[in-house]
Amino acid sequence: MRSILVALSGAVVSAAVAQAQPVLDSRLSAVESAARSAQSAGDNAWMLVSAALVLMMTGPGLALFYGGLVRRKNVLGTMMHSFVLMAIVTVLWAFIGYSLVFSEGTGFIGGGHYAFLDGVGTSPNTDYAPTIPQLTFMVYQLMFAIITPALISGAFAERMKFSAMLLFTLLWTLIVYFPMAHMVWGKGGWLNAFLGGAIPCLDFAGGTVVHITSGVSALVCALYLGKRQGYLIEPIKPHSVVLSVIGACLLWVGWFGFNAGSALGSSGLATSAFVATHFAAAAATLGWMFAEWICSGKPSVLGAVSGSVAGLVAITPASGFVKPVPALGIGFAAGVICYFMVTVAKHRLGYDDSLDAFGVHGVGGFTGAMLTGVLATNAVNDALKDSAGRPQALGVVDGHWGQLGNQAIGAAIAIAIAVVGTYLILRVCDAICGVRVSPEHETEGLDLSMHGEEGYNFES
């Protein structure tokens, strides 16, 4: 009797479980899907804000920073360099740029898979950012492609023809930036530390891709175009340090999108990069300010804001790999080094880098790239695993001295591409339309001679 009862009740239970199983499965998958879409919503919100912040760095940030540093007669021409790139690079990016950087191709350049944004929609690209729409990833990366050539414009400010500048930046983005970005960030790129690169170069947000390439290209431009008329003979003073201060503040804020956004999600890593970015900017401001105070007697406001930008540049490759206190060290070093670069070394070498694009971005970028090799630690970023699944040692502080070599190779490739590419492109532009304005137009100012208007109309 008892055994019959047990058998009976066992049959009832197993029938009930069999009935409940599909219900449980479907509820579980509903919960999983809800969790995924919640994460996607959070990550996408942060990435869209980050994309907007990075665009804000170019306009108005860089436009104001550079616009204030030139003479009154060139303020519009200089701001236009930044503004027009927001338009022209966007079109180039939609046609072929995104594809050349992020679709699979060779180790040097991507392929044509995403040309005209074919297949780039709201579903994620799991290679790069599995929790956000690929369109978000695409537009975020576009903002980097916009600001990089805009940074170069600091070197040829006040003397380059507008037509030549358009052609130059178009070709430069195509021939220098796209390959460099693909090598470091694209799947299968030679320098990509995360997606199968032969030489794993650590560049979290673009120290090598953005700042070394643009800074070195800026130096080539400054040397190729020659000095501005009256350089070192007549005063060529910034017409409004006020605009430059506002621009630098916007750059500082925008840089949170640049670096913390490079976590590609609203994660703890984003917070870590945000903090490192802020700390480096603060320390670099103090580094430049005190260096200048000691060496030339007064702590200038232009010096303080230039220092903050130098620190932001230097922390860019390191931001997702270093702790806050080392970030202070990177910033301070960049502030002091860049100060000596633009005040002492530039005058000794005698080139006219109008707005110090090389001194700040090239030198700051290189400083940051090398210090990343020293201070990067898997305590901050454990995304790289060894074959046993343990986090890999990243920089010298983790005992990995070899990373310094990887960083140096990455920087050397960036320098080589920038020097050769920029020089050839300048030769082509010179042959097609001439790169430098006529002496009459230079005296008159680019606002009137190139654009037919003036920045400040006091009589109206």
């Binding site: 200038s300 633009v342 005058h347």
Partner: protein, 112 residues
Amino acid sequence: MKKIEAIIQPFKLNDVREALKGIGVDGVTVSEVRGHGRQKGHKEIYRGMEYEVDLLPKVKLELIVTDARVEEITGALLKSARTGKIGDGKIFIYDVREAIRIRNDDRGDAAL
């Protein structure tokens, strides 16, 4: 008639105008000018690039007065514009051939 032209330190303008009002002078033309005499300029540094700025901001006053009042007005100017340091400025006095009030053709002292 004489024209008194005084180039003074900008921050002394209010003192000078008070002094002129105090002795009943009710016409003056003021312009902001730049220049230098024996006073040295100052140094400005932008990213390590040094510039000597030797054209300094000054204020120029022009008054046309009757011959009889020249000494009195000059005395008031000297007293109110002086700090005793280099850079206080200078006063120049010229002869004026004619003055005409545009509104009603008054001429000479009557036009002042």
